[in-house]
Each structure stands twice: as structure tokens, then as C-alpha cells.
Symmetry: C2
Subunit: 238 residues, 2 copies
DNA sequence: TAAAAGCAAGAGCAGTGCTCTCGTTGTTGG
DNA sequence: CCAACAACGAGAGCACTGCTCTTGCTTTTA
């Protein structure tokens, strides 16, 4: 792809990586609010002003960390999906496995999770560079449901009239292999999955949910049902 | 309850309110990260050091704003619930009306929403003072489902064995009027409701969901179904 | 009415993001 | 080969932050 041209370019790559590593370390230790350029420079033994040769601002550094975090959680989801596919696991299992992979990543990297799925901290709109990596988890979920649809079909109610136009646009834009009835429920399930994880990570479940693992598993299974990955449930009036 | 004893106490109450008002103004304008004690003091025409007589630290000021925000969104949800009850609206409508009230509040106060449902910004665990106000929205949802259960019953599948102990604890702890089958789904629906809202507020739906209102309504209705507020849906394999 | 407590203001400390300048050091075209 | 150039690191400095301490003043209390 791109050959390294000389000592200078090589050094630049290494220093950039070292800055990001140290910044990630401080992010994991103290959170995004406490991340300080001067502290990073201090830890690396360089003047703080020198750091601006590599990142033009603190927000740019944070954006780089955001991109890396999106890639990290996306890679986790993709790896879980690959493994489940290699095992020829049923589609419902692929769904829960991917969901658990995202949750496990969040539990292992709470501050990085907060950076990407918590309050947006830099400018109001996400920089262009983040939108690619940000969609990786979503694409995995689309793939899981798409494969289930193609092999087993989906047990879904018909599409509501009010959602017809929106569903058509969604299918055309980022899910061409999916039937229209499932796109809106899938996007909803996507956001609801992160709702479950965010409430756990951000402490909203403190004193509310104790058995978090089994609670999450049941909720995620129910989410799969709304996508037609399982048959309709039996229910009774009580 | 507590009578105001003199001019000094009266002044203290007024100044405290003025500080919070100005802080809320800056919060709404720029977000929690940019909220500065010195700027608040400047705007109020007082020395920054004087402000510490009223709030011992910036985090304490933020905590006060957090409590107010929880109360504000809680009051919105309660008002919506009261109105729907006064109209003798069906339970499914009460559910969606409360959900929309929370969403409307979030859209009107995005920075305050981020403060309470985004990344926790002060210390890691929420101060004791916040846990009461923080549960108001949840209590409204519990009330909606409880009333539906008592009048119409709920169309729910039996409780999974793995959740038996957890559901029993939850019922005993904060939902004594609810049947055990609905507590876990209700907590899940609670977090998923905020997942939907957070993704919209935090920009995760940019370039993904366009018809946000109708999308939200459909998703919230589907959530109600997982709580047995509607009959089981008709579905077909496609 | 005198002591005590609450209060506002100013100076100051340590820290931050960021800019500018000034030597130094690699890169590169003539 | 070496001169011009671009990239680089370091230091000083600006404007800002949260927070503390001291110094006077005012209100409350004994």
C-alpha cells in the first residue's frame, strides 16, 4: 500500500501511536473529561507544544480515540459473528452471541464505551471520519438478520402503513438484502440493545438489576423475537 | 415546614437559585463540559470565590443540576400519566403517551438529557441525593403497567426459570403490585425506551432514521407488546 | 452591645488548551 | 555535495479553569 519513506516518516508513525496509546491509557484510567494533553506529553517525556505537531487539538485526539473505539467494538462484534458462523450456529444464537460480544466489550472498556455511546463530547455533529467505523456493529446485526431471512425466513407482522416510505428508504440506503418489514424493527432493536448496555455501564441498573448477565440474555432473546428470529411466543392472560 | 428566618436566609435561597438558573442557561447553551463556575460568577456580577459559599465544588453544582433534571423529566412523565388517566385513556395509550412525554422532554433539553442519561461526568457512582429523583420516570412506567395488570391483565409468557429469583427480588424491592412475569420485561423496556431516545439525541440516528416521530411511536408500541399491554401479534413466515 | 457566624472580594496557586518563536535536524532538488 | 526547505522539539507566554486563603464587612445570636 504505502511504503515508509524514511526515518522521519517512521518516527512520526511511532510517535503518533505512542501518543494514542498513552491517551487511551489515561482515558481508561480517568475518563474522557480528565484526559489532558499536557499529561500525555509529560508521560511521554516531550514538551506539550510538540504534541500539536501530531494532533492539531485535543478534540482531534479524542476523535482519533473515538474512531479506534468504534473499530474495536466493531471488530469484537464481527469476530463473534465469524465464530458463530463457523460453528454453523442457529441464527438466534448468532444474534445473542453478537449482543454479548458488544456487552462484554463495553464492560471491559467502560470509558471508551462512554466516549462513543455516551454524551457526544467534542463538537455537536460527529466528524465525517467516524461514520464508517461507527456503523460496523450495525452492519453485523444487519448481516445476522439478513442471513436468517435468507435461510429460515422471518416471523414478522406486516409493515405498518406509516412506516412504508421510511422502510423503503432504509432498505435502499443500507440494507438492500433485507425485507422491508424488518428494517425498522432492526434499527429499533439496535438502539435498544445499546440502551440495555448503557444503563448497565452508566449505573442506571444500580440497586435495580442484580443478575445482569441472565437479565441481559433474556432481554436480548426477546429482542430477537421482535425481529422474527424466533416463532411467536405463547402467552396467556393473567 | 421551614420558615425563612431572616434576610440572610432569604438572600441565600435567592442567590442559590440564581446560580442554578445561570448554570442551567450555560448548560443548555454549551453543554456540561463547557460549564464554568467563573463564567457563572461573572454573569452574576460576583467574585468567583463567593460562589463557593453556595456550592462547595463544580461537581456539587452539577449534581444539583442533575437532580433538577431528573425532577423535570420525572414531572413531565407524571403529568402525561395524570392527563391520560384523567381522559380514561386505554392502558396502551397511557404507555405511549408517557414515552412520548419523555422523548419530547429530551428533545427540548438535550444537554440536560445528556447530563443524566449520557456518560456520568462527576464521580463514578451517582450521589445519594440523585437516586430518588432518578427513579421517578421508572415509577410512572411501573404504575402504568400495574394499573393495566389490575384492570385488564397482561398477555405474557411464563417467567423463565433463570429469572425467578431476580424477579422475586425486584417485585419485593420496588414493584410490589406487579406480577413476577412482568418485572424483568418492564425493566428491559425501560432501558430500551431510553436507548431509542439516546440514539436520537446523541446523533446515532443521523443518516439512519429520518421519520423519527413515527419510528419512535412504532417502536414504543412494540415495547408495549413485550409487556403484554396488547394481545400477541399476528405474524407470518416470509 | 459584644461575640460569633456568614458573607463578598481579591490575590494567588496549580493546572489546562493553545500559539508563537527559535534553534535543530532530517529531506530533497539543483 | 550542499544549499534550500520543510518538519520538528522545546520554551515562553496568553487566557482560561477550579479552588484556597486571607482580609475586611455585615448580619445574626447570646
Amino acid at each position: 500500500m504505502s511504503a515508509i519513506r524514511g526515518a522521519r516518516e517512521r518516527a512520526r508513525i511511532e510517535v503518533t501511536a505512542a501518543i494514542k496509546d498513552e491517551a487511551r491509557k489515561q482515558l481508561a484510567a480517568e475518563g474522557a473529561a480528565k484526559l489532558s494533553l499536557r499529561a500525555v506529553a509529560r508521560e511521554l517525556g516531550m514538551a506539550s507544544s510538540a504534541l500539536y505537531r501530531y494532533f492539531p487539538s485535543r478534540d482531534e485526539l479524542l476523535t482519533a480515540l473515538i474512531v479506534d473505539a468504534y473499530d474495536s467494538v466493531g471488530e469484537s462484534a464481527e469476530a463473534a459473528h465469524r465464530a458463530a458462523r463457523a460453528d454453523a450456529a442457529p441464527h438466534i444464537t448468532r444474534w445473542t452471541v453478537v449482543a454479548h460480544a458488544v456487552r462484554d466489550w463495553a464492560l471491559a472498556h467502560p470509558h471508551e464505551y462512554a466516549l462513543i455511546y455516551g454524551s457526544p463530547v467534542p463538537g455537536y455533529s460527529a466528524p465525517q471520519a467516524t461514520i464508517g467505523p461507527a456503523s460496523r456493529v450495525g452492519l453485523v446485526l444487519i448481516a445476522v438478520v439478513g442471513e436468517a431471512y435468507r435461510t429460515d425466513g422471518l416471523a414478522l407482522p406486516p409493515l405498518a402503513d406509516e412506516l412504508r416510505a421510511e422502510a423503503g428508504r432504509m432498505v435502499a440506503e443500507f440494507a438492500p438484502d433485507l425485507p422491508q418489514e424488518v428494517v425498522a424493527p432492526l434499527i429499533a432493536a439496535w438502539s435498544q440493545l445499546f440502551g440495555l448496555i448503557s444503563f448497565e455501564i452508566f449505573g442506571q441498573f444500580n440497586r435495580v438489576v442484580e443478575a445482569r448477565e441472565v437479565f441481559f440474555r433474556e432481554a436480548v432473546t426477546e429482542l430477537a423475537r421482535t425481529l422474527g428470529l424466533l416463532g411467536p411466543r405463547s402467552s396467556r392472560r393473567g
